[in-house]
């Protein structure tokens, strides 16, 4: 006799969360495989590249998803819901540590980079990283959601609960700010 394990490769996230609410372990596994690493990456970037903290947050987020699976509104998009919870968790963490006052002094953990041989490129990356870490929690969240997670403006609007027009405007101003901050690299000829 062979045991057949249910597979949900073709099932949508929204259906999976419903199955998860009914204590379907396979649905949970599928959902974790789809979003576990992604949400960990988000936390990792949002929480000063602290791996342990990002893992704790990933675990906490999924516990929240398990606990609140039954209350998931079918009209919502799962990923948006998940990111909005994650975003709120980060907000609380920022508040808790009063990072706004100290964020400039926070040094992110360094990870080896493959292209560290190019000094200009390295300098540029360091400057960009420093700038991103100097951003307020709100701007950093916006940057990560838009340029790392590649979420659309309507999705970000739902996650941070701000009007789409406001999101567009904020992204536009953020891009201007980045460009002005890194203007010195404009004439850098060595592009990766």
């Amino acid at each position: 006799m062979t045991l057949r394990k249910t597979t949900y490769h073709n099932t949508s996230d929204e259906e999976l969360i419903e199955l998860m609410a009914a204590s379907d372990n396979s649905a949970f596994t599928e959902l974790y495989q789809r979003h576990g690493q992604k949400i960990f990456s988000y936390f990792f970037r949002m929480l000063w590249k602290d791996k342990d903290l990002a893992e704790d947050f990933t675990q906490e987020l999924f516990l929240k998803l398990i606990k609140n699976a039954a209350s998931f509104e079918k009209t919502r998009i799962f990923s948006t819901w998940m990111y909005s919870i994650a975003n709120n968790m980060c907000k609380n963490e920022y508040r808790k540590k009063e990072i706004r006052q100290n964020h400039l002094s926070m040094v992110p953990k360094q990870h080896p980079s493959s292209d560290a041989v190019n000094p200009d490129h390295k300098r540029f990356k360091t400057a960009l990283q420093h700038f991103l870490h100097s951003l307020s929690e709100e701007k950093r969240s916006l940057y990560i959601l838009r340029f790392h997670e590649n979420l659309s403006v309507p999705e970000i609007s739902q996650i941070i609960q701000v009007a789409e027009g406001t999101v567009k405007s904020r992204i536009f101003h953020l891009m201007k700010e980045i460009k002005n901050e890194l203007k010195e690299f404009e004439n850098l000829l060595t592009y990766p």
């Binding site: 372990n25 990456s41 398990i66 960009l128 940057y143 992204i171 404009e186």
Partner: protein, 180 residues
């Protein structure tokens, strides 16, 4: 298309006039455009240096999920057992009521009159003591002056004194002072 999407997806030479006007404030020149493009590229590179999440996270969550499932199934069992007990209790009570219920049968038996209310005051007629009725006489203890008279001091224990009547013993009239 959003400005950031134009920068990421297109090259400077491919931009249309309308797209260039959209990018006017962010990337007015080719150099600025390339700088922005580079920023986005480097940002994406960061994605590659994110470490893998520890498998222990998943194991812990899976264990939590399994325990939750077990707990839920226990709750269902408890709920089912509770419902069963309630249904059984209701059934037993109903059955008992049915057994003890009196069946009304029409008979010719007269219904007894309504009894007196115990709270009502009862007026009983005054008792008339006939001269020949049995009289219990309480006699004061004999004094040394009346030592000639018979001793009836122990009337409670004296059978003769209790059961005697005035008619049979006229001498008792000496002790009667008043008649109702």
């Amino acid at each position: 298309m959003e400005p950031e999407e134009i920068i990421q997806q297109k090259e400077w030479i491919d931009l249309s006039a309308s797209e260039r006007s959209v990018l006017q404030d962010i990337a007015a020149t080719e150099q600025e455009f390339n700088l922005m493009k580079k920023i986005f590229m480097v940002s994406r590179e960061e994605l590659d240096i994110v470490p893998e999440v520890d498998p222990a996270v998943f194991s812990s969550l899976e264990a939590h999920m399994i325990s939750r499932k077990k707990r839920n199934s226990f709750y269902f069992l408890y709920a089912a057992a509770a419902i069963l007990v309630i249904v059984l209790a209701i059934f037993l009570v109903k059955k008992k009521d049915f057994e003890t219920e009196k069946i009304l049968v029409k008979t010719n038996q007269k219904i007894p009159a309504v009894q007196k209310d115990s709270s009502m005051a009862v007026i009983e007629p005054a008792k008339i003591i006939q001269p020949d009725s049995q009289v219990i006489v309480k006699v004061p203890a004999p004094t040394p002056k009346n030592s000639n008279r018979p001793d009836y001091s122990d009337v409670h224990n004296n059978d003769m004194a209790i059961n005697t009547t005035v008619a049979s013993n006229t001498g008792l009239l000496d002790y009667v002072t008043e008649l109702n």
